[in-house]
């Protein structure tokens, strides 16, 4: 059985376990968007990155696809990991600001400012729907088409696939379209005050400002907000 060290704790796991599973076994919270226990690990959302040290070198690797090997030394919340996650989440909020899941994650990681123009895309291409359709529903009715920026989930060549049973598993598993924040203007809402009162206000872009007037979260006193932000994260450092 491979023995590895996660955040200084030695842990022995069964062969075939991933680092993500090992960390979760220890109760360490690692955020994910594309991972689901019943599906093949995909490694696309990159939020589960952990810092893996190997001799003098260390590297960020996705925990969901990294096999828990003997002698691995893993840090799940090092400064480098936290900074990478914050910047990733900033980009996520800018891409899909209307998703409550993403807002909450960003909020949890102390992302209070988004410097990029919001895009309001519906899909983050985590591939959960594609995998559940193929692996659990045994249908394979949808897949990815096109490349890069134009890549999207669709049925081959046609909008409706013959083998789609309309079971709704794809909708069920989607991490971004579930539970939108129900504000006055759900599409442009960026206030995650309903979760923890630490909103990710887009002060850079007027048209994406928090719609609540007055903002519930912003009206609250500072100390209370700080207490509720979890885990406490320092602002990003400058690159060396």
């Amino acid at each position: 059985m491979p023995k590895l060290t996660i955040n200084g704790i030695e842990v022995e796991v069964e062969r075939g376990t991933t680092v993500l599973e090992a960390a979760r076994f220890l109760g360490l919270p690692i955020p994910t968007l594309c991972h689901d226990d019943g599906l093949t690990p995909y490694g696309a959302c990159r939020l589960c990155l952990v810092e893996v040290t190997n001799g003098p070198r260390s590297k960020l690797q996705a925990a969901c696809t990294l096999p828990a090997d003997d002698g691995l030394v893993v840090q799940t919340h090092s400064a480098r990991v936290e900074r990478a996650r914050q910047l990733l989440l900033e980009l996520y909020v800018a891409t899909t600001p209307q998703s409550k899941t993403i807002q909450d994650l960003a909020s949890r990681y102390g992302v209070t400012r988004v410097r990029l123009t919001p895009e309001f895309e519906d899909c983050i291409q985590c591939g959960k729907c594609v995998r559940i359709c193929r692996e659990q529903m045994m249908a394979g009715a949808i897949g990815f088409a096109y490349r890069g920026n134009r890549r999207k989930v669709m049925a081959p060549f046609r909008p409706q696939s013959d083998i789609c049973r309309q079971c709704g598993a794809c909708m069920y598993i989607c991490p971004v379209c579930e539970l939108r924040c129900h504000g006055a203007e759900a599409e442009t809402t960026l206030c995650s005050g309903c979760l923890n009162f630490a909103p990710a206000c887009l002060d850079y872009h007027d048209h994406a400002m928090c719609f609540l007037d007055p903002c519930v979260a912003c009206e609250l006193a500072g100390p209370l907000r700080q207490d509720l932000v979890w885990p406490a994260v320092k602002p990003p450092e400058s690159p060396k």
């Binding site: 690990p41 490694g43 696309a44 959302c45 990159r46 990155l49 960020l60 690797q61 996705a62 696809t65 990294l66 096999p67 090997d69 480098r80 990478a84 910047l87 990733l88 980009l91 996520y92 800018a94 891409t95 410097r115 990029l116 123009t117 983050i124 291409q125 591939g127 990815f144 096109y146 490349r147 890069g148 920026n149 134009r150 890549r151 990003p236 400058s238 690159p239």
Partner: protein
């Protein structure tokens, strides 16, 4: 063609090939690589053939179309054997004269010889041309001598001797050890030690094992692998057969881009010939080694040069990378152990076996052994393919081999390693070219693209161009690469249009750092290099764009204006004729003016203006 059953058969066949050839018989070896073909080699070949026929010399003079000689700038180029006279910029009309010189006492055609641009003197022999003199052509040396479509030519220059040596005189472990001791590192870009990769693969219990030759060369301006496949495909096949012997593989694949039709054609011919001779197939040279190579054509995705995406593509899936580990050497094609190496890596294997690992390891630096092939392009006098020992400095590369920068302009930067390489500034010109030094400078060896830039290149624009390419070529699987490249391109476009803010530079650095650290595969992990290196070395230029709304290199169209200096303008009307938007006003013999509202800043007037009255500010 009889099958070769043993090493003796091979040597007998080689002896027959060499014996059938009179070394004194004149031979005209014309480059028919892609570069020279584009500059007219097929016409020259036809004209040479016709001239030979007219002179009645068809039997007495051999005419050969070979692979790329490397000096594409001066194409079409040719060599005449046995003297080794090097002719450049040959045209069809020169054919008669060349043939005449071959028949009458072999006086070279003076005006077709290479002229040294500094001394003005003509140079007769190829090895005396500065472009070639400082090179060490270990892999490409035979390109100018052999017809890639004729296996006898390859046998005649000692081809397949390394295979014979490996099969009869050594064990698989020994071959792996040679490759390890030679210090060969992967020539595809990342520079992973080949011997180590082979050892990992050998240690895997699973069978069957596979070999792959990665010929999905996609960097803009790079054509090293292409030229090797076009010019000397048997060297790659020989390397793969030796690999099969060392690694216990029975099947190999070569993945070539479909955009390389000539490489595909030549490789197909070479495969068929090798199979016919029994160099591929069952019990190669009677050794009991079975090995076959299949050719797979890529559909043009840059990301398929990444090994896991390439394997997915061969398997018939979408070319998207998979997380590593497991590495292909552990679990690759069809889930089996697979060694995947670049074209040049495979071609280096016979060299190492032939000459010995010590000979190979003596070339280069401590960490980087052997030679590296670069395609030297951009603002450089001698464009072409260059093979140099590792550790050569950029200065030697650009000024000795490359012949310096055209029009007496100053060197600004060198972009090494393809689109995801970094820009090395002119101040680091004495940097030795090896894996470690380049990585330290923020660039990478990559597969060997080398783009030279002078003071007329805007570094913001350069970064924007490469980011546009990478955004287009990102497969889109992982989020940071898909959205990060897009956002960086948007910010760079904004800056180049004079709409950037100083905060954007910090944002670019943050995004670049994040994309590099968090992306799934090598494409994303290296994609920010052009941005991060230009920000590191050319920050002033970015600041000029965002603070002063000025493009110092006068490239970014939104930040420049064209005007005519009335005191210099002689009213010749030349600019008026070339202006497509009728933006230039003025009578003949009187100073002209440019209507800024109509001007599209194409630069046509600047090019035609003799008195240099057109100003760009």
């Amino acid at each position: 063609m009889p099958r070769l059953q043993s090493l003796e058969d091979l040597e007998a066949r080689r002896a027959a090939c060499v014996g059938a050839r009179d070394p004194a018989k004149p031979c005209l070896a014309l480059c028919a690589g892609s570069g020279c073909t584009a500059s007219g080699a097929p016409e020259v070949l036809a004209a040479l053939r016709e001239s030979l026929e007219r002179a009645g010399l068809e039997g007495a003079v051999e005419l050969k179309s070979t692979g790329c000689h490397g000096f594409c700038e001066k194409g079409p180029v040719m060599l005449t054997w046995p003297e080794g006279t090097f002719y450049n910029q040959v045209a069809a009309r020169d054919a008669k004269e060349i043939v005449a010189s071959v028949s009458n006492g072999r006086r070279p055609v003076e005006r077709l010889l290479y002229r040294d641009p500094t001394s003005g003197e003509r140079v007769q022999r190829e090895e005396d041309v500065p472009f070639y003199r400082f090179q060490q052509r270990v892999l490409f040396g035979n390109n100018g001598r052999i017809d890639p479509k004729n296996i006898d030519d390859y046998l005649g220059v000692g081809g397949y001797a390394a295979l014979g040596k490996a099969l009869t005189g050594s064990t698989p472990e020994q071959v792996v050890d040679w490759v390890k001791r030679a210090g060969l590192r992967g020539r595809g870009g990342a520079g992973f030690p080949t011997g180590k990769k082979w050892e990992v693969m050998r240690a895997q219990p699973a069978t069957p094992k596979y070999l792959i030759c990665n010929a999905d060369e996609g960097d803009p301006g790079a054509f090293m692998d292409r030229s090797l496949l076009e010019g000397n495909p048997h060297s790659v096949i020989e390397g793969m057969i030796i690999g099969a012997f060392a690694l216990g593989a029975r099947e190999g694949y070569i993945y070539v881009r479909a955009e390389y039709p000539l490489a595909v054609e030549h490789f197909r011919v070479a495969l068929a010939q090798a199979e016919e001779c029994g160099l591929l197939g069952e019990s190669i040279l009677g050794s009991g080694l079975d090995f076959r190579i299949r050719l797979v054509q890529g559909a043009g995705a840059f990301v398929c040069g990444e090994e896991t995406a390439l394997i997915a593509s061969i398997e018939g899936h979408v070319g998207e990378p998979l997380p590593r580990p497991p590495f292909p050497a552990q679990k690759g094609l069809w889930g089996k152990p697979t060694v995947i190496n670049n074209v040049k890596t495979w071609a280096s294997v016979p060299v190492i076996v032939n000459r010995g690992p010590e000979w190979y390891a003596a070339i280069g630096t401590t960490g980087s052994k052997g030679t590296m092939v670069f395609s030297l392009v951009g603002k450089i006098n001698n464009t072409g393919l260059v093979e140099v020992p590792m550790g050569i400095t950029l200065r030697e590369m650009i000024y000795k081999i490359g012949g310096g920068i055209p029009n007496g302009r100053a060197l600004k930067a060198v972009q090494i390693g393809g689109p995801s390489g970094g820009c090395i500034p002119a101040s680091l010109i004495d940097l030795p070219i090896d894996y470690e030094a380049l990585t330290e400078a923020g660039s990478m060896m990559g597969s060997g693209g080398m783009v030279v830039m002078d003071e007329t290149n805007c570094m913001v624009d350069v970064a924007r161009y490469f980011m546009e390419f990478l955004e287009e070529e990102s497969c889109g699987k992982c989020f940071p690469c898909r959205k990060g490249t897009q956002r960086m391109r948007e910010i760079l476009t904004r800056i180049s249009q004079g709409q950037g803010a100083e905060d954007d530079l910090k944002l670019l650095e943050d995004l670049g750092w994040m994309v590099r650290e968090t992306s799934l595969c090598g494409l994303g992990q290296t994609a920010p290099n052009p941005v991060l290196t230009t920000l590191r070395y050319f920050r002033d230029e970015y600041l000029a764009h965002v603070r002063e709304r000025r493009c110092p290199a006068k490239v970014c169209k939104q930040l420049i204006t064209y005007s005519i200096e009335p005191t210099l303008c002689d009213g010749c009307h030349a600019c008026v004729h070339v202006c497509t938007t009728e933006a230039i006003l003025g009578e003949k013999k009187a100073a002209h003016t440019i209507d800024a509202a109509k001007c599209i800043k194409c630069g046509a007037c600047l090019e035609v203006c003799q008195p240099k009255a057109v100003l760009v500010t």
